[in-house]
Assembly symmetry: C2
Homo-oligomer: 268 residues x 2
């Protein structure tokens, strides 16, 4: 019998890429999706699908057990804003879980999810272990490469972005001529890019980093097509990501797109 892997799916394309990679290896995939967050297209990429709302998180472990799952991957973000917006109702089990959170950051929520899953006997796998070939080592990835002053800006930006991420601020920092144009909070990368472009104008340089001490099992930064399209829309120069700690979706298609859009992508 094939091994069944559990996939707890956040938003966007990350869970879909994981599901495809798992099935290419011959595994069955039992996925849990969060309504209004997880892409409905995931359903056709997995063997069993269980949809839950934010108020039904408490029942996930039992469903996974019933599906014969021992190993779990968490892939894709859950927007932190959903945990702090009022008017949200939670069932008693979920309320109990949320009461254990030190704060309502996405990071704390994911850490708690991992602890709960482990305490119930699941093994939590690194979310990118099936997609390692899409994690770049250091180097320029596109035909267009940063100019000398942009490289300097990227390096100092990356140092700062790492600190911001480690302190619980967002992963994305946008610079223009050495000055900080925009910092990501709960609004997400795409809105941060839009804002920087609107305020600082063309030529922005974007860095995306993972904080030290972050659990890469669920917190690896990702860059996808949508990010590149936003960068092009505001005439940004390009993006610098952390070598060995960023997932590019999917890497060959993404780099081809960056080349078409005239953006640089470089791993620092």
């Amino acid at each position: 019998m094939n091994k069944t892997i559990g996939l707890i799916a956040g938003n966007r394309a990350f869970p879909i890429h994981v599901a495809r990679a798992a099935r290419r290896r011959g595994w069955l995939v039992a996925a849990v999706g969060l309504r209004e967050e997880t892409d409905p297209a995931l359903e056709s990429e997995v063997d069993r699908m269980h949809w839950v709302t934010l108020s039904e998180l408490g029942g996930i472990p039992d469903w996974l057990k019933g599906a014969g799952v021992r190993e779990v991957i968490l892939a894709g973000q859950i927007q932190a804003r959903r945990l702090v917006q009022s008017g949200q109702s939670f069932d008693p089990a979920t309320r109990q879980l949320l009461a254990r959170l030190p704060d309502r950051s996405g990071d704390s929520a994911m850490k708690l999810a991992v602890r709960v899953l482990q305490s119930k006997g699941f093994r939590v796998l690194h979310s990118a272990f099936l997609l390692k070939e899409w994690i770049p080592v250091r180097g320029d990835l596109t035909r267009l490469i940063p100019m000398a002053d942009q490289r300097k800006e990227l390096r100092s930006g990356l140092r700062l972005a790492r600190k911001l991420a480690a302190w619980g601020v967002g992963q994305t920092l946008i610079l223009k001529q050495g000055a900080v144009a925009a910092v990501e909070g709960m609004e997400g990368t795409d809105e941060t890019i839009e804002r920087a472009g609107r305020i600082a104008g063309p030529g922005c340089v974007v860095v995306k980093a993972c904080g030290r001490g972050k659990d890469m099992r669920f917190d690896i930064p990702v860059v996808g097509e949508e990010t590149l399209r936003r960068l092009a829309a505001v005439q940004a120069a390009g993006i610098g990501v952390e070598a060995g700690r960023t997932l590019l979706f999917d890497r060959p298609a993404l780099i081809a797109l960056a080349d078409r859009l005239g953006l640089f992508v470089t791993a620092l």
Copy 2:
């Protein structure tokens, strides 16, 4: 003959408050305003007024000398975005000045302005030295005070906001239930508040801090009526500012307004 003080005026109400305080002491005020940035109402509050555009900054010292000025106050911000937006033309003297900037942050621009003024024989005064009674010491300033968990949130937020400010990111950090909702970049405090409210919902807590190592002669954080009105509009809980390092405009009117709006203002 009365002493003439030079006032290099950035945006909003700060320069107006400085001009009034100086004239209350019997000084003459010779002010330089930046077109499209400085409030035109300043003109009726000073004795001599000189309007410049961003392309005419190089001529400021000569004009101040001609007005008999020896001591200068820089008050009010100049939006950093103006220094990085393209399509901006600069005269040769200003271009030379800008070429000396390590980056295009407002902080670097102000530091350079101070150096240039000092090298031409001017004494640069602390921008708040005429308004010291509006700088709070530690304590709650409003009838409404933070709850215990909000105090905890304010204290950890202030630690982080100080670091952010020292690193050249903005002064404002907005939290909701311990999670970072929004961080200020070039967009300014008011837009940051609007965003946090839109994304994280009611109940946000705002902190505003001055980075260590900042030159308080031109970089003291300020809170005015507009900030409080924005806070009320997004149903934020209140604001925590750095004791001894924040100017409240004007303090009695501001605290009365906060009380009317049901916001807390506390100095940490």
